[in-house]
């Protein structure tokens, strides 16, 4: 159809809708992804310079190969794929829809004989007899027959799976939907982490990638965290009992484990990891001059006055294993009006280095608790992604299991009015060999019953060509 609107669109869209571009993009995306898996992602420029020569590090940085999947050029490739998909759809869908909706054009035996799969049988019987037999025979092998108005002859079409032509568009659109969903998620949603000790309540999420903190519109409290192990030592289950507190009221209580998150107002909490935190410690200070001992109980991060002085002491950090020396606490000594000083104290190894200012420090008791590591996410685009996934599965599945096939039949009376010429033609979008086999079987059956039976001598005309696909 050269004067078709779709064709002119095709010319205008040109290379953007071409299959060649599709292939190039597939290979380019595959190649880029491959580089991304071989080169460690997320390295900083400094780390790159430590690993590679300056020139290579510069090149990697220039092409953003260390953050490839989020680089501009990778996004442009994805965008081009979308443009290609849309252009193809705009280019081809109208034609397909017209093919599906259009009423059958009138045809005759001459037109049918031009098909790559066609056959012609001549029977010495009147039109009406042949017509009814052909009707029932075709119905039996190919399903319902739809008759088409034509003068003086019998024309009919049997078509199956005409909608299967649309499946490929379904798959293409599903890819677009998934990408749009991903885009919506990355712009309208967020992803971050929160560490909660048992009993702690918070609404602060540390956003992924950056140092920025996001405040949730409600509070989360961790009531309990449990971890269990198998006999083999492998972890069995991580479980956090969480409560959601909205406007001062406890609205939801649930426990989460890996694979079973909790969602409240579109925000989902995942069990990601766990660790140990310090609740507080009891320490004993010994004045190095006087030898006087002071007992102190320090809660985590809360400065406490050192009795008999105007100074304060606080635990500001905790390590479960500081440089393989075991547990350690970081003490910060605050003198009024002066620069405060900090010092790591090894809790498990009392030695002379455990000191701050003029005090020797001994940690007499350490009070630890577990914290649960939560992954927190809001993704409004996820429903689009799921919808795209469903459409993609259905589309590819139906492409595999369905096919479009069409059979044309035309019975024309011969000029002498004593014979009828049956012309059949067929076309199948998939599994052409099987369709052809069925087609040939039908022709053989018609020939057997209409031409060969004990009847006046008949003339046979064969016009059989193989399908192009089989050659």
């Amino acid at each position: 159809m050269p004067n078709d609107k779709g064709a002119s669109w095709g010319v205008r869209l040109g290379w953007l809708s071409s299959l060649k571009l599709t292939l190039i993009l597939f290979f380019a995306l595959a190649g880029a992804s491959l580089i991304g898996t071989l080169l460690p992602q997320g390295l900083s420029l400094v780390e790159l310079k430590n690993h590679f020569s300056p020139t290579i590090a510069f090149l990697i940085d220039l092409l953003a190969l260390n953050n490839l999947y989020h680089s501009m050029w990778f996004r442009i490739l994805l965008l081009l794929l979308c443009v290609n998909l849309i252009a193809c759809t705009v280019d081809r869908l109208p034609k397909t829809v017209r093919l599906i909706r259009r009423f059958e054009d009138p045809f005759d035996s001459q037109k049918l004989s031009r098909f790559s799969l066609s056959s012609s049988i001549s029977a010495a019987l009147p039109l009406e007899k042949v017509q009814s037999f052909v009707k029932s025979a075709v119905c039996e092998t190919f399903g319902q027959l739809c008759e088409i108005q034509s003068a003086g002859s019998f024309c009919a079409v049997s078509e199956q799976g005409r909608w299967s032509r649309l499946m490929v568009y379904g798959v293409h659109i599903s890819v677009l939907i998934v990408l749009v969903g991903a885009l919506a998620g990355s712009y309208l949603g967020f992803k971050g982490a929160m560490n909660l000790s048992e009993g702690e309540t918070s609404d602060k999420v540390i956003l992924a990638g950056g140092e920025s903190v996001l405040e949730l519109p409600f509070m989360v409290r961790c009531d309990k965290f449990e971890v269990s192990f198998y006999d083999t030592g492998a972890p069995k289950e991580f479980r956090s009992d969480l409560a959601i507190i909205d406007k001062g009221r406890e609205v939801l209580k649930d426990s989460i484990i890996v694979n079973d998150p909790l969602t409240y107002e579109g925000i989902t909490f995942y069990q990601a990891n766990y660790g140990t935190t310090l609740k507080g410690a009891e320490i004993e200070l010994t004045d190095r001059d006087s030898g006087a001992k002071i007992q102190m109980s320090l809660p985590m991060l809360q400065p406490v006055n050192i009795p008999g002085t105007g100074d304060q002491l606080a635990i500001t950090d905790y390590r479960q294993d500081l440089m393989r020396f075991g547990q350690a606490v970081e003490l910060t000594y605050v003198k009024a009006g002066q620069q405060s000083s900090s010092q790591w104290i090894l809790a498990d190894r009392p030695f002379h280095g455990n000191r701050i200012e003029n005090y020797q420090v001994r940690v007499s008791r350490i009070d630890t608790g577990r914290f649960t590591g939560l992954e927190i996410k809001k993704d409004p685009g996820i429903w689009l992604v799921w919808a795209g996934f469903i459409l993609m599965t259905v589309g590819i599945g139906l492409t595999f299991y369905s096919s479009h096939r069409k059979l044309w039949v035309c019975v024309e009376p011969d000029k002498k009015r004593k014979k009828s010429i049956i012309t059949l033609a067929g076309r199948a979008s998939r599994n052409a060999p099987a369709f052809e086999e069925k087609f040939r079987a039908l022709c053989a059956r018609l020939e057997n019953e209409l031409v060969n039976p004990p009847s006046p001598p008949s003339e046979k005309r064969g016009n059989q060509k193989d399908t192009k696909g089989a050659k």
């Binding site: 299959l19 060649k20 599709t22 292939l23 597939f26 290979f27 995306l29 595959a30 992804s33 491959l34 991304g36 898996t37 071989l38 992602q41 999947y69 991903a182 992803k191 198998y230 083999t232 492998a234 972890p235 069995k236 289950e237 991580f238 484990i257 890996v258 694979n259 079973d260 998150p261 989902t268 995942y270 069990q271 990601a272 992954e375 927190i376 996410k377 996820i382 992604v385 799921w386 996934f389 993609m392 599965t393 590819i396 599945g397 492409t399 595999f400 599994n431 052409a432 060999p433 696909g469 089989a470 050659k471």
Partner: protein, 288 residues
Amino acid sequence: MTSSLLLSLTTFAYLLCTVLYLSGTVFSYRPLLGAGAVSGAAALLMQTGGIGLRWIESYRMGYGHAPLSNMYESLVFASWAIMVIYLVFEWRTKQRALGVFPALFSFLAMAYASFSKDVDSKIQPLVPALKSNWLIAHVMTCFLGYAAFAVSFGLSIVYLVKKRSIYVGKPQNPNPHGALQVSLPSVSQLEWFNYQLVLFGFLWLSIGIITGSIWANSAWGTYWSWDPKETWSLITWLIYAALLHARNMQGWKGERVAWLSIIGFGCVLFTYFGVNFLLSGLHSYARQ
């Protein structure tokens, strides 16, 4: 009767099956191919029993999970899936002479699972991340896809060899056994079968990636994180998508499509083994 005994026997049954198919093809003798199919079906039955027993044994040990959780179990399932897909293919198409490669792959997968020092065949408990109903759906769909691609890889090689021999004009073998002689399908038939298998594999690979991302979303809170395993499955998907599109392009149908299928299977192998052993990522449990 234990699962490990059944699965060891399966390994040798697949070896026998491979030898039968190979000799049937080389000596061009049809009954040998029939014996190949029978031994393949018998091995498959035995393997099904072995997998089922292993499942039951895991419940007896108190772990209770489908045998799809580590390298050993996935190799056994891969071998099973290849044979299932091949036998259904043979039954549907009535083509008996294409069994060498699928039988060989099934045997190699079992042999590697049984004899390699890197692969631990012990039944292990599931770590928290694997405790999900998606485990069965994700692993089964992925491996059905991989298996279809493995069979397609075999077909592509047969296709290329056959096409080359036509170009060279190699005379057909003299016919020593008359009706018993083996006949390979024609080049165009091979091309069609190959396309069907790739489309089938593509369907399952897509579902495999989709179930994987739904699972990742419920376990880690992200459906796509560019983890090496994910990325390589995407690379595989892109290559086979390219194949399906290339078939409609002038000059690509035929040999180039066959080569793409071979490259695609290379990607499958890298997704499966290469990523586990060479690259680190979230999928590390598949390494043991």
